[in-house]
């Protein structure tokens, strides 16, 4: 097998990795469109998008490494950054949604958080009363 053919195959493998990431991104956006409430949507959005972006950026990283012969530290930093920030963003958004009173989907089977929030509100109200 010639060297050129090897290079071709490597190129195609990384392109397929990128394509796979794009397909996963499309499916996760489909979830963003069709799932019934904010929390489920943010499952689809922040999580599967993470896997899609991971595949795409890794594919791009290896592609530039092997084909363009350039070790791009920026892409690696990008992967790391997306991985650190995306769960934090998802968590903040879901928490803000719950605290601003977005209801769970009617098919939800369990809600342990409602009690905790109620207690917290109660404490806050008492604290304000005591202060006055």
């Amino acid at each position: 097998m010639s060297l050129e053919m090897m290079e071709q195959i490597i190129e195609v493998v990384f392109a397929i990795l990128i394509l796979l990431g794009a397909v996963i991104a499309v499916i996760s956006v489909l979830g963003l469109i069709r799932l019934p409430d904010v929390y489920l949507r943010s499952h689809a959005a922040t999580k599967s998008a993470t896997l899609g972006v991971l595949l795409i950026l890794l594919g791009a990283f290896f592609y530039t490494w092997f084909v363009h012969d350039f070790f791009s530290i920026k892409l690696l930093l990008g992967i790391l950054f997306v991985f650190i920030t995306s769960p934090v963003a998802g968590h903040l958004n879901a928490r803000a949604a719950y605290r601003s009173g977005v209801a769970l989907w009617k098919g939800s089977v369990r809600d342990d958080f409602r009690e905790a929030i109620k207690q917290e509100r109660q404490l806050e109200i008492e604290e304000i009363k005591n202060r006055n």
Binding site: I24, R34, Y39, L40, H43, T46, P87, G107, S108, V109
Partner: protein
């Protein structure tokens, strides 16, 4: 020296386990999304964690957030309870035990 080797092993194990969880649960979520009729039972469960320091709890909640199908909604003020929104709950206790058994144990091995 031995301690460092053990720590490195624990970190590697945590990363490997996390990657496995990420892949497996991604596939689960993608399958649920693609199914023509939705057949999921979402809900919020409580997880009493044994982890204490801020770093450990942050790590645990980030790992839970990163695996599709589970999402940390909030951490109680004293840091003892995590509220997790899960996409498909068969048995709440089993899910909590599973998270405790996998992530929590691996994090403990890294930090202690």
């Amino acid at each position: 020296m031995m301690r460092m080797i053990r720590k490195t092993g624990a970190v590697l194990r945590l990363i490997a386990m996390f990657n496995k969880e990420l892949l497996m649960s991604s596939v689960t979520v993608l399958r649920e999304v693609l199914r023509p009729r939705l057949n999921i039972r979402p809900g919020i469960i409580k997880l009493d964690t044994e982890l204490r320091s801020d770093f450990e709890i942050t790590l645990l909640s980030i790992l839970i957030c990163l695996t599709p199908g589970t999402l940390t909604l909030d951490v109680s003020g004293d840091g003892k309870t995590l509220y997790i929104h899960a996409m498909d709950i068969n048995d709440p206790d089993e899910l909590a035990a599973q998270i405790k058994g996998s992530f929590e144990r691996a994090i403990m091995e890294v930090t202690r």
